[in-house]
């Protein structure tokens, strides 16, 4: 064994057994320092015979690099160890850093969910004012004066004779006045009813109105659309039932009931929507206002629906009292974050 090899083995053993960074540094100085033993061999090289020089020189290089590598490795081990030692002291059960967040009101969440579903079916949004006139709210919707369904008693009036719309169906009329068929819109918005306030009634509530007018629109199309909506909202296994009903502005008129295991209400049919085929008298009123025959009831037909958002949110989130929505107690709102 060449003395250099002996030196290397000694150095590696010493490095390996260094207990701490200080011991390692001592070893480094001892072998690689300016007057260290490996360096000393560099000096000694000068004295060697010329035929020996390349052999010993090569060996010396190998020894120096393997000792250097061993020192680096050992130093890395010490650093890792130190890092781990420092980090193991950290109590990872401490709570994470919080960032204040807010959230949308449950009714807004309900509206957004509903709007997304209808948008997937190709409905655009439409809009109309909360403060309306009697013509848009009643007359144009086939509810002339003295019609039993024209409930002025339940309507808020302004001093100038205008009123707060009692349903978003007014937007049906506005949408049809604004453009010719085909029309495919939903209109989210507020509606008002002059009614005693209790757990299920509030003076102001929220609806999504829908209107589709095209060639040959039928009850079957209406069913397809709203069944899809209900199943998207309440789950694929939701049972949807359509029952005949009466609204002045649709004929036939229907009410939708759903039953779903996902709901706390369980196996009970709950009413969620009024809908129907647009009454030809509504088209006739629109035509008269437009001064044309754009909505010829013999050429075009349509369906309309009105979804009560407060009611749907109450059913979906199992909220017992409609008044909670307007109270905005943060303890309530945080439940829907």
């Amino acid at each position: 064994m060449h003395p250099l090899e002996q030196l290397r083995d000694d150095a590696l053993r010493e490095i390996e057994s260094a207990r701490d960074e200080q011991a390692l540094e001592t070893a480094r100085v001892k072998y690689l320092g300016r007057s260290g033993s490996v360096s000393a061999w560099g000096e000694q090289m000068k004295t060697l015979a010329s035929e020996e020089k390349p052999i010993v020189g090569k060996l010396l290089n190998e020894v120096r690099s393997s000792v250097t590598a061993a020192i680096d490795l050992r130093a890395q081990q010490f650093r890792s160890q130190k890092e781990s030692d420092a980090l193991t002291k950290i109590d990872i059960s401490l709570p994470g850093t919080q960032h204040e967040i807010g959230a949308l009101h449950p009714l807004t969440q309900m509206l957004e969910r509903s709007i997304q579903i209808f948008r997937r079916m190709g409905f655009a949004l439409a809009d109309g004012p909360d403060v309306e006139d009697e013509w848009h709210c009643f007359d144009a919707l086939n509810t002339p004066p003295e019609h039993p369904a024209r409930n002025e008693q339940d309507t808020f009036y302004l001093p100038d004779g205008r009123l707060l719309r009692t349903h978003t169906s007014t937007v049906q009329i506005r949408a049809m006045q604004a453009g010719p068929p085909p029309i495919r819109v939903i209109a989210p918005g507020a509606a008002y009813r002059r009614d005693e306030v209790d757990a299920t009634h509030s003076a102001q509530f929220h609806q999504i109105e829908g209107l589709y007018v095209d060639k040959n629109v039928s009850v079957a199309d209406l069913k397809g659309t709203l069944e899809f909506f209900m199943r998207e909202l309440f789950g694929a296994d939701t049972a949807v039932q359509f029952r005949p009903h009466y609204f002045p502005f649709t004929e036939p008129s229907l009410e939708i009931y759903v039953k779903s295991k996902a709901l706390k209400k369980g196996e009970e049919w709950v009413e969620v929507c009024g809908c129907g085929v647009v009454h030809p008298a509504v088209f006739e009123a629109v035509n008269k206002a437009r001064g044309d025959k754009a909505y010829d009831p013999e050429k075009w037909s349509g369906y309309a629906f009105g979804l009560g958002m407060d009611r749907l949110a109450m059913i979906l989130f199992d909220i017992p009292d409609i008044r909670l929505f307007a109270q905005n107690d943060l303890r309530f709102l945080k439940q829907f974050a």
């Binding site: 997937r120 306030v197 079957a220 199309d221 109270q327």
Partner: protein, 783 residues
């Protein structure tokens, strides 16, 4: 309306279970909202007879009765009622009986006197509404017989009749509907009205004794005189029937009138003929004409109110309510029985204007079958003859004409299929419509149908299609997918803008609220002269909000009361700007309390919300060219106007003390969303990322307190230095530098977009800026 199943069964066969009847109706659009069982077998209640009665020794209001319960031994019962006399037959509940209201009868002592059971009122047995006294049973009732023998069990359906179906507001009408839906014929006897033989044959109609001055409002009127009636209590069978559906018994004449209305749907009215002065005229009221109605109130009438009058005064508000002065009383001898057809719109207007809805007006305004007017008169007359031993005159005085039948309606089978969305066989359609009483008049592709007189709601082809759909079954129609693409609208973009606002602010830790657009009288008003409602119902909702702040402050107060320590809320919604209630979409923000909701080990900087939290929230909305200026606002300390592109878009500030319950500063802002962001360019575009490094230099300075950040900023930025990229304020304090002074530190970032800057270039520019600050602002620069 409430319906007795027993009563319905007189006309039509019904499914055995009430739930099946309810289901049949509900599926066809006649929603049954409630099912109630009445007069079910009540064990241990028997017919008894009171044999003696004496005062309770220890209680003035009680009596001690001895009753015969048919067992042979008399029982002693303590009783609180006073409406009986010795010899009356009454229901006796024996110990062990359980009454429908849950009361369990036990042997007990009442004020020291033993009572071996209880004598019952109608309401206690669930047999009627009368709670005033004991239920007096007919004299022929057999003593000891179970009470169930007298009152067979019945089921009461609570059915919601839609306003278009006035024809269903009677037992006969609903039975007819059930017959059509279940494909059976209504009982023959029900069609042969009046049920039973008319004594002396059919009466003659004579145009006498009645005139109509308002033929439009009253097309037809009939009056029949019935003499020598004996007004008195109503026989139990009839009383039980009307009471079972919620009508209170008054006397036999009035009860008969109500009975006929419940049976046939036609309201009739009996006048005390002795109190009428001369012939009847149906006319419009005189303006201000006073009328004392049967409800004991005096109404001031208007010329659009139709009245039934004698030669001196109004004796009835037509179709709504009779008069007190001519009403039937115990002393009435002769009566005049009215049965008429009134215009639905007229009755509705009158009932509404007088705020006097009645069972009669409810039916008239929904349309009564004109063909039933005289039949109802006959039916009532026969009952009065039998029950009140009246002698009807042989003639009925009439005026006007019974309205004709509704016009025929044409229906094309093809259109029916088109509206429903599936093909239904013409034969099936014919069969359904025939069941509903329609008659096919022509056999073509578009058939003409004759409409029965009671279905005035069937006016156009779609009305017939609905009948087909109802009977065919909506649930048999397969849903169809008619999705199609639609271009987005202005409303879509407006909605998406609102959603973006929602996301920004909730991500900043603000909670979205939705408050009522109707505000209360006591609410703190922002912007005076909120548009009031003409007809508010409660003090909570009297006006349309002119601002979102009213609602936000209400939410704050509620949450402060609930000990919430951090209220950071916002709302985006419509407000109504006075005076014309113009609708604008606003954003409101309110901040109060701690900026951090809960103490946290990592967070040491726990500060209460301040103006800059509010300003930061508004700045996060990326409103173009936004600026904040001192303004003027009565409700705000620190009033600030917000501008975008030199246009005022809203305000921000701190609420003046005393405006709210919450302790500490409340920060509020309100912005017109569409003014602020309406024209905002949503389109974003790429700009090349800078390749060359920046050089930063800080400037720390002390300036007089009154010099604003904006002034310093403009001194740094103007005149414009091309190499200066940005300026950030990173420190601000006022402590330990003497009064009326403040220390600020800015970081200036320099960059050239096309090359690397040298230190010398930057130093030259920076020195110029430093000099400007010293010269223009007198800033004391710190090294």
């Amino acid at each position: 309306m409430k319906f007795s199943v027993n009563w319905l069964r007189e006309f039509v066969d019904l499914p055995k279970e009430p739930e099946e009847i309810a289901d049949l109706l509900t599926r066809a659009g006649v929603e049954t909202k409630g099912i109630e069982t009445r007069g079910a077998k009540i064990d241990q209640v028997f017919v008894s007879q009171i044999t003696t009665s004496s005062r309770h020794p220890n209680a003035d209001r009680l009596t001690v009765c001895e009753v015969d319960d048919g067992s042979g031994t008399k029982r002693q019962i303590v009783c609180g009622a006073t409406n009986y006399k010795v010899g009356d037959k009454v229901p006796l509940a024996l110990p062990g009986a359980k009454l429908p209201n849950g009361t369990e009868i036990r042997k007990s002592k009442l004020r020291g006197v033993e009572s071996e059971g209880m004598l019952c009122s109608a309401i206690e047995l669930g047999l009627g509404q009368d709670a005033a006294g004991l239920l007096l049973l007919p004299p022929e009732a057999k003593i000891g017989a179970p009470i169930g023998d007298l009152f067979p069990a019945d089921t009461i359906l609570d059915v919601e009749i839609t306003p278009n179906r006035g024809d269903l507001l009677s037992h006969f009408g609903l039975a007819r509907e059930i017959a059509a839906l279940s494909n059976q014929r209504i009982a023959e006897q029900a069609l042969r009205l009046p049920f039973g033989k008319m004594a002396g044959g059919a009466p003659a109609l004579r145009k006498k004794g009645v005139t109509i001055s308002a033929l439009r409002e009253c097309p037809f009127f009939s009056a029949r005189k019935i003499d020598n009636v004996k007004v008195g209590p109503t026989p139990q069978w009839l009383r039980a029937k009307i009471e079972s559906v919620g009508i209170r018994s008054i006397n036999n004449i009035v009860d008969i009138s109500n009975f006929v209305m419940l049976e046939l749907g036609q309201p009739t009215h009996a006048f005390d003929a002795g109190k009428l002065k001369g012939d009847i005229d149906v006319r419009l009221a005189r303006d201000g004409e006073k009328f004392l109605a049967l409800d004991g109130k005096t109404y001031s009438l208007k010329p659009d109110n139709l009245v039934v009058a004698d030669q001196e005064r109004a004796v009835g508000i037509a179709g709504v309510m009779g008069g007190e002065e001519t009403g039937v009383t115990e002393s009435t001898k002769n009566i005049l029985l009215e049965s008429a057809y009134f215009l639905p719109a007229s009755v509705r207007r009158t009932a509404r204007n007088l705020n006097l809805p009645s069972d009669a007006s409810y039916r008239f305004e929904r349309g009564v079958d004109p063909q039933i007017v005289l039949r109802a008169s006959h039916r009532a007359t026969e009952l009065i003859r039998e029950i009140a031993s009246g002698t009807p005159t042989k003639e009925i005085g009439t005026a006007g004409k019974v309205p004709g039948n509704p016009a025929d309606v044409s229906l094309s089978y093809e259109k029916c299929d088109r509206v429903v969305g599936i093909a239904i066989k013409p034969k099936t359609i014919d069969e359904i419509l025939t069941r509903f009483g329609l008659r096919k008049m022509s056999a073509t592709k578009t058939a003409k149908w004759k409409i029965p007189s009671y279905r005035r709601d069937l006016q156009r082809d779609v009305d017939l299609i609905e009948e087909v759909l109802r009977a065919y079954g909506v649930n048999k129609i397969q849903g169809n997918d008619r999705s199609r693409s639609t271009p987005s609208s202005g409303a879509d973009r407006s909605h998406d803008l609102e959603s973006a606002l929602h996301e920004r602010l909730s991500a900043r830790g603000l909670w979205e609220v939705r408050t009522s657009k109707l505000i209360s009288r006591s609410a703190i008003a922002f912007g005076d002269n909120a548009v009031n409602l003409r007809n508010p119902l409660t003090e909570d909702h009297v006006a349309l909000r002119p601002s979102l702040l009213t609602g936000l402050i209400t939410v704050l107060n509620r949450n402060v009361r609930a000990s919430i320590e951090r209220v950071a809320i916002f709302e985006v919604g419509r407000v109504f700007v006075p005076p014309e209630a113009r609708e604008e979409r606003h954003l409101g923000i309110l901040l109060w309390g701690n900026a951090i909701s809960a103490p946290h080990w990592r967070i040491t900087d726990v500060h209460p919300f301040d103006f800059f939290d509010l300003k930061g929230a508004i700045e996060s909305l990326a409103i173009a060219a936004i600026s904040f200026r001192r303004g003027d606002h009565a409700d705000l300390a620190l009033p600030t106007e917000i501008y975008a592109n030199e246009r005022a878009i809203g305000f921000a500030g701190q609420l003046r003390e005393g405006r709210v319950d919450a302790p500490g500063a409340v920060f509020v802002a309100e912005v017109d969303v569409d003014l602020a962001l309406g024209g905002a360019e949503l389109q974003k575009s790429f700009r090349e990322i800078e390749k060359f490094p920046t050089v930063t230099r800080d400037i720390a300075m002390i300036v007089p307190e009154e010099i604003s950040h904006a002034t310093i900023l403009s001194a740094i930025q103007e005149p414009k230095e091309p190499l200066l990229e940005s300026v950030e304020l990173f420190d601000l304090f006022t402590e330990q530098i003497g009064a009326a002074r403040k220390s600020l530190a800015y970081r200036l970032t320099y960059r050239d977009r096309s090359r690397t800057l040298t230190s010398e270039e930057v130093s030259a520019v920076h020195a110029k800026i430093r000099e400007r600050l010293q010269r223009d602002l007198g800033a004391e620069l710190r090294e």
